[in-house]
């Protein structure tokens, strides 16, 4: 079997998964753009592998697959970093919220006495 077919199936599957997650409100708009973009790039590269080869040639990389590994790894790292920042912000907001609820509950229990 031509390995290109597997690549196309996987990238289309990724695109469909993103659409399904969006449709049922699991994925918010904020992250929709980056995931749709990633899925579309994957589809383009799997359908037209020549694009990858030309870009690799431009950067002087003899094996196009290495460009895919380097670029893919870099993008994944960036997305991980974004996730860390987002998690840190969410923790901070959770802390603020819990502290604020705790303060209100203390106030309410004092008012009862």
């Amino acid at each position: 079997m031509n390995p290109q077919i597997l690549a196309i199936i996987l990238s289309v599957a990724m695109f469909v998964i993103v659409l399904i997650l969006l449709r049922f409100y699991f994925l918010p708009e904020k992250y929709a753009v980056i995931w749709l973009l990633a899925a579309i790039v994957a589809i383009v590269l799997s359908v037209f592998p020549g694009v990858l080869s030309s870009i690799a040639a431009f950067f002087g990389i003899s094996q196009p697959i290495n460009l895919l590994f380097v670029a893919g790894f870099f993008v994944v790292l960036l997305m991980l970093m974004q996730l860390s920042l987002e998690l840190a912000r969410t923790r901070e907001e959770l802390r603020k919220t819990v502290q604020s609820i705790a303060a209100d509950m203390e106030k309410a229990s004092n008012d009862d006495d």
Partner: protein, 246 residues
Amino acid sequence: MKTLIAIPAFNEEASIGAVLANLASHHPLEHVIVIDDGSRDSTSDIAHAAGVRVIRHAINLGVGGAMGSAFKFAARNGYEALVQLDADGQHRPEFLSTLLDGIGRSDIVIGSRFAAGGGFRSTWARRNVQRVIAWTVSAYTRTRLTDVTSGFRVSGPNAILLFSEHYPVEYLGDTVESLVLASRQGLTISEVPVIMNERAGGLPSQSIFRATLYTGRILLILVLAAFRSAPPSVTAMQKRVKRESA
């Protein structure tokens, strides 16, 4: 008609006092609620002192999140209409009765700056951005609308029920997405012309570049809104309503 005026406010201590004082002669202040969306200034203190109800968010959730709280409050307290009013004095309370007159004829009434009779001067870029967005939303809702990003609007009982379950939270998209959501749930929307004051801050669509970015984001939100099913909370609400009426 039991009417609630909801004012989302984030760091608006400079203008909130004047807005409430101006509002007092048009609407009883015990039926006004300020949603302090995590301000770090004295917004909620000023609102408290003016004698209105105040909801205070521990963190900043954005206008969509603030309006979500307002709609939940309205639904819980049996209000039949909710008017959204800006905290920066852009919306004039003398048009409240004009807006409220439209409820009964439709579920949501928007105060439009661009409808015939409304007065608003703005830059070329801003006018065209508004035109593209309004045209798209009009196509969705099958109603001719001219000012879909206007926050000055009133929601009737059906809209309050819907929005108390789900109000879009996306920054700057809440006004537009809420209309698409409402019209897909079978609610009707209409417009009345109003005159607005220039706002202090200004829309983030003044340069051509930012206008394009802003339009692109709103159009993306619209495409997503059309493609999405009803939010899970809204589906659950419809089932509940159907059960109760059966």
